[in-house]
Protein backbone atom coordinates (compact mmCIF):
# COMPACT_ATOMS: atom_id res chain seq x y z
CA UNK A 1 0.00 0.00 0.00
CA UNK A 2 1.38 3.40 -0.94
CA UNK A 3 1.84 5.77 1.99
CA UNK A 4 0.06 9.09 1.70
CA UNK A 5 2.54 11.99 1.78
CA UNK A 6 1.20 14.64 4.11
CA UNK A 7 1.92 18.24 3.28
CA UNK A 8 2.62 19.72 6.68
CA UNK A 9 4.18 22.99 5.58
CA UNK A 10 1.35 24.47 3.55
CA UNK A 11 2.51 28.05 4.02
CA UNK A 12 5.82 27.49 2.21
CA UNK A 13 7.96 30.61 1.93
CA UNK A 14 5.20 32.83 3.37
CA UNK A 15 5.52 30.90 6.61
CA UNK A 16 8.88 32.64 7.06
CA UNK A 17 7.05 35.92 7.62
CA UNK A 18 4.05 34.95 9.72
CA UNK A 19 2.23 31.83 10.84
CA UNK A 20 0.93 33.05 14.19
CA UNK A 21 2.52 33.93 17.54
CA UNK A 22 5.95 34.72 16.15
CA UNK A 23 8.54 36.23 18.50
CA UNK A 24 11.99 37.77 18.16
CA UNK A 25 13.85 34.51 17.46
CA UNK A 26 11.48 33.58 14.66
CA UNK A 27 12.10 36.91 12.93
CA UNK A 28 15.84 36.41 13.42
CA UNK A 29 15.41 33.07 11.63
CA UNK A 30 13.62 34.81 8.75
CA UNK A 31 16.29 37.52 8.57
CA UNK A 32 18.99 34.81 8.68
CA UNK A 33 17.44 33.18 5.61
CA UNK A 34 16.97 36.47 3.74
CA UNK A 35 20.52 37.70 4.49
CA UNK A 36 21.90 34.27 3.53
CA UNK A 37 20.17 34.36 0.16
CA UNK A 38 21.33 37.97 -0.32
CA UNK A 39 24.92 36.99 0.43
CA UNK A 40 24.71 34.11 -2.07
CA UNK A 41 23.47 36.50 -4.78
CA UNK A 42 26.25 38.96 -3.96
CA UNK A 43 28.79 36.11 -3.89
CA UNK A 44 27.84 35.06 -7.43
CA UNK A 45 28.15 38.68 -8.64
CA UNK A 46 31.42 39.22 -6.73
CA UNK A 47 32.97 36.00 -8.04
CA UNK A 48 32.01 36.86 -11.61
CA UNK A 49 33.55 40.34 -11.37
CA UNK A 50 36.74 39.28 -9.58
CA UNK A 51 37.42 36.34 -11.88
CA UNK A 52 36.19 37.25 -15.37
CA UNK A 53 37.43 40.87 -15.24
CA UNK A 54 40.61 40.25 -13.26
CA UNK A 55 41.95 37.60 -15.60
CA UNK A 56 41.64 40.01 -18.59
CA UNK A 57 44.24 42.42 -17.29
CA UNK A 58 44.66 45.89 -15.83
CA UNK A 59 42.65 47.92 -18.35
CA UNK A 60 39.52 45.75 -18.10
CA UNK A 61 39.83 45.63 -14.29
CA UNK A 62 40.23 49.43 -14.00
CA UNK A 63 37.23 50.12 -16.26
CA UNK A 64 35.12 47.58 -14.29
CA UNK A 65 36.12 49.26 -11.00
CA UNK A 66 35.33 52.74 -12.32
CA UNK A 67 31.92 51.45 -13.50
CA UNK A 68 31.24 50.03 -10.02
CA UNK A 69 32.40 53.22 -8.29
CA UNK A 70 29.00 54.88 -7.94
CA UNK A 71 26.53 55.49 -5.06
CA UNK A 72 24.19 52.62 -5.99
CA UNK A 73 26.93 49.99 -5.73
CA UNK A 74 28.32 51.66 -2.56
CA UNK A 75 24.91 51.37 -0.90
CA UNK A 76 24.73 47.76 -2.14
CA UNK A 77 28.12 47.06 -0.55
CA UNK A 78 26.94 48.56 2.75
CA UNK A 79 23.90 46.30 2.63
CA UNK A 80 26.20 43.30 2.03
CA UNK A 81 28.34 44.28 5.05
CA UNK A 82 25.20 44.68 7.21
CA UNK A 83 23.95 41.28 5.97
CA UNK A 84 27.34 39.67 6.71
CA UNK A 85 27.51 41.15 10.22
CA UNK A 86 24.00 39.97 11.08
CA UNK A 87 24.29 36.55 9.42
CA UNK A 88 27.64 35.77 11.07
CA UNK A 89 26.59 36.78 14.60
CA UNK A 90 23.14 35.20 14.39
CA UNK A 91 24.74 32.03 13.00
CA UNK A 92 27.09 32.00 15.99
CA UNK A 93 24.05 32.32 18.29
CA UNK A 94 22.38 29.37 16.57
CA UNK A 95 25.51 27.23 16.93
CA UNK A 96 25.91 28.11 20.63
CA UNK A 97 22.25 27.28 21.31
CA UNK A 98 22.42 24.11 19.23
CA UNK A 99 25.31 22.69 21.25
CA UNK A 100 23.30 23.39 24.39
CA UNK A 101 24.76 26.59 25.85
CA UNK A 102 23.04 29.81 26.99
CA UNK A 103 19.59 28.25 27.19
CA UNK A 104 16.99 29.01 29.88
CA UNK A 105 16.49 26.63 32.79
CA UNK A 106 13.99 23.80 32.17
CA UNK A 107 10.47 24.44 33.53
CA UNK A 108 7.34 22.25 33.63
CA UNK A 109 5.28 22.45 30.44
CA UNK A 110 2.41 24.52 31.85
CA UNK A 111 0.34 26.81 29.64
CA UNK A 112 1.26 29.45 28.43
CA UNK A 113 4.31 27.54 27.23
CA UNK A 114 7.73 29.18 26.93
CA UNK A 115 10.80 27.74 25.27
CA UNK A 116 14.35 27.64 26.58
CA UNK A 117 15.63 30.29 24.15
CA UNK A 118 12.96 32.84 25.12
CA UNK A 119 13.74 32.34 28.82
CA UNK A 120 17.36 33.42 28.27
CA UNK A 121 17.72 36.16 25.71
CA UNK A 122 21.02 37.57 27.01
CA UNK A 123 23.15 35.85 24.34
CA UNK A 124 20.79 36.97 21.57
CA UNK A 125 20.92 40.59 22.72
CA UNK A 126 24.72 40.61 23.24
CA UNK A 127 25.41 39.17 19.78
CA UNK A 128 22.99 41.57 18.10
CA UNK A 129 24.76 44.49 19.83
CA UNK A 130 28.11 43.16 18.51
CA UNK A 131 26.58 42.96 15.01
CA UNK A 132 25.50 46.60 15.37
CA UNK A 133 29.03 47.57 16.49
CA UNK A 134 30.48 45.85 13.41
CA UNK A 135 28.11 47.84 11.20
CA UNK A 136 29.13 51.07 13.01
CA UNK A 137 32.81 50.15 12.42
CA UNK A 138 32.21 49.82 8.66
CA UNK A 139 30.37 53.17 8.57
CA UNK A 140 33.07 54.86 10.71
CA UNK A 141 35.80 53.53 8.42
CA UNK A 142 34.00 55.02 5.43
CA UNK A 143 33.36 58.36 7.18
CA UNK A 144 37.07 58.57 8.16
CA UNK A 145 38.02 58.39 4.51
CA UNK A 146 38.71 54.69 4.02
CA UNK A 147 37.15 52.30 1.53
CA UNK A 148 38.09 54.14 -1.65
Amino acid sequence: MQMKRFRENNLGIFGWLWAGNYRLERYLYTLHRITGLGLILFGIFHLTVTTVFRIQGKNVWDSAMSFLDNPIFKIGEFLVLIAFSFHALNGLRLIIHEIGFALGKPVPPIYPYTDAIRRNRALTLILMVIAMLMIVAFITNSVLGGWK
Partner: protein, 120 residues
Protein backbone atom coordinates in the same frame (compact mmCIF):
# COMPACT_ATOMS: atom_id res chain seq x y z
CA UNK B 1 21.41 10.54 9.83
CA UNK B 2 22.48 12.22 6.57
CA UNK B 3 20.88 15.49 7.62
CA UNK B 4 22.60 15.34 11.03
CA UNK B 5 25.99 15.15 9.32
CA UNK B 6 24.98 17.91 6.93
CA UNK B 7 24.02 20.10 9.91
CA UNK B 8 27.47 19.48 11.43
CA UNK B 9 29.08 20.39 8.08
CA UNK B 10 26.91 23.53 7.99
CA UNK B 11 28.08 24.62 11.46
CA UNK B 12 31.79 23.94 10.85
CA UNK B 13 31.82 25.45 7.35
CA UNK B 14 29.90 28.47 8.67
CA UNK B 15 32.47 29.15 11.40
CA UNK B 16 35.45 28.72 9.05
CA UNK B 17 33.89 30.74 6.21
CA UNK B 18 32.93 33.47 8.69
CA UNK B 19 36.47 33.74 10.08
CA UNK B 20 38.12 33.77 6.64
CA UNK B 21 35.54 36.24 5.34
CA UNK B 22 36.21 38.50 8.33
CA UNK B 23 39.91 38.62 7.32
CA UNK B 24 38.97 39.30 3.68
CA UNK B 25 36.44 42.03 4.51
CA UNK B 26 38.67 43.52 7.20
CA UNK B 27 41.56 44.00 4.77
CA UNK B 28 39.31 45.27 1.99
CA UNK B 29 36.93 47.47 3.96
CA UNK B 30 38.44 48.42 7.34
CA UNK B 31 41.70 50.01 6.17
CA UNK B 32 41.50 53.15 8.37
CA UNK B 33 40.48 51.28 11.53
CA UNK B 34 43.21 48.65 10.94
CA UNK B 35 45.67 51.56 10.56
CA UNK B 36 44.78 52.72 14.10
CA UNK B 37 45.70 49.20 15.27
CA UNK B 38 49.07 49.33 13.52
CA UNK B 39 48.10 47.18 10.54
CA UNK B 40 48.62 49.23 7.38
CA UNK B 41 46.78 48.31 4.19
CA UNK B 42 45.99 50.74 1.42
CA UNK B 43 44.45 50.83 -2.03
CA UNK B 44 43.51 47.15 -1.87
CA UNK B 45 41.17 47.40 -4.86
CA UNK B 46 43.93 48.50 -7.27
CA UNK B 47 45.09 45.99 -9.87
CA UNK B 48 48.71 46.07 -8.69
CA UNK B 49 47.77 45.45 -5.05
CA UNK B 50 45.56 42.55 -6.12
CA UNK B 51 48.32 40.99 -8.26
CA UNK B 52 50.76 41.44 -5.36
CA UNK B 53 48.41 39.46 -3.08
CA UNK B 54 47.87 36.85 -5.79
CA UNK B 55 51.63 36.13 -5.74
CA UNK B 56 51.63 35.27 -2.05
CA UNK B 57 50.80 31.65 -1.19
CA UNK B 58 49.15 32.67 2.10
CA UNK B 59 46.56 34.85 0.32
CA UNK B 60 45.94 32.28 -2.42
CA UNK B 61 45.39 29.58 0.21
CA UNK B 62 43.07 31.88 2.17
CA UNK B 63 40.99 32.72 -0.91
CA UNK B 64 40.62 29.10 -2.03
CA UNK B 65 39.74 27.90 1.48
CA UNK B 66 37.25 30.75 1.86
CA UNK B 67 35.70 29.84 -1.48
CA UNK B 68 35.48 26.16 -0.54
CA UNK B 69 33.86 26.72 2.87
CA UNK B 70 31.57 29.48 1.59
CA UNK B 71 30.37 27.28 -1.30
CA UNK B 72 29.82 24.36 1.08
CA UNK B 73 27.88 26.56 3.49
CA UNK B 74 25.81 28.23 0.76
CA UNK B 75 25.00 24.96 -1.06
CA UNK B 76 24.04 23.26 2.18
CA UNK B 77 21.90 26.25 3.18
CA UNK B 78 20.09 26.20 -0.16
CA UNK B 79 19.53 22.45 0.23
CA UNK B 80 17.98 23.03 3.66
CA UNK B 81 15.68 25.70 2.25
CA UNK B 82 14.68 23.33 -0.59
CA UNK B 83 13.81 20.63 1.93
CA UNK B 84 11.71 23.07 3.97
CA UNK B 85 9.88 24.23 0.84
CA UNK B 86 8.07 20.88 0.82
CA UNK B 87 8.85 20.25 -2.86
CA UNK B 88 7.84 17.07 -4.63
CA UNK B 89 10.49 14.33 -4.71
CA UNK B 90 11.41 15.05 -8.35
CA UNK B 91 11.61 18.82 -7.79
CA UNK B 92 13.78 18.30 -4.72
CA UNK B 93 16.16 16.03 -6.64
CA UNK B 94 16.36 18.52 -9.50
CA UNK B 95 17.02 21.38 -7.09
CA UNK B 96 19.79 19.39 -5.38
CA UNK B 97 21.44 18.66 -8.74
CA UNK B 98 21.13 22.35 -9.69
CA UNK B 99 22.62 23.51 -6.36
CA UNK B 100 25.58 21.10 -6.64
CA UNK B 101 26.25 22.04 -10.27
CA UNK B 102 26.13 25.81 -9.67
CA UNK B 103 28.30 25.39 -6.55
CA UNK B 104 30.89 23.37 -8.48
CA UNK B 105 30.94 25.77 -11.44
CA UNK B 106 31.52 28.79 -9.20
CA UNK B 107 34.11 26.96 -7.11
CA UNK B 108 36.08 26.01 -10.24
CA UNK B 109 35.70 29.53 -11.68
CA UNK B 110 36.68 31.12 -8.37
CA UNK B 111 39.67 28.82 -7.76
CA UNK B 112 40.96 28.97 -11.35
CA UNK B 113 41.78 32.71 -11.29
CA UNK B 114 43.98 32.90 -8.15
CA UNK B 115 45.77 29.67 -9.12
CA UNK B 116 46.43 30.98 -12.65
CA UNK B 117 47.66 34.35 -11.37
CA UNK B 118 49.87 32.64 -8.78
CA UNK B 119 51.43 30.38 -11.45
CA UNK B 120 52.17 33.27 -13.87
Amino acid sequence: MKNTYLQLVQMISGILAGLLLAVHIGVQRLDVILGFLGIYVSNTLSFNSMIERAKQISWVTLYIMLLFFAMLHASNGLYKISVEMNLSRTSLRLSIIFIILVGLIFFILGAYTPITLFMK
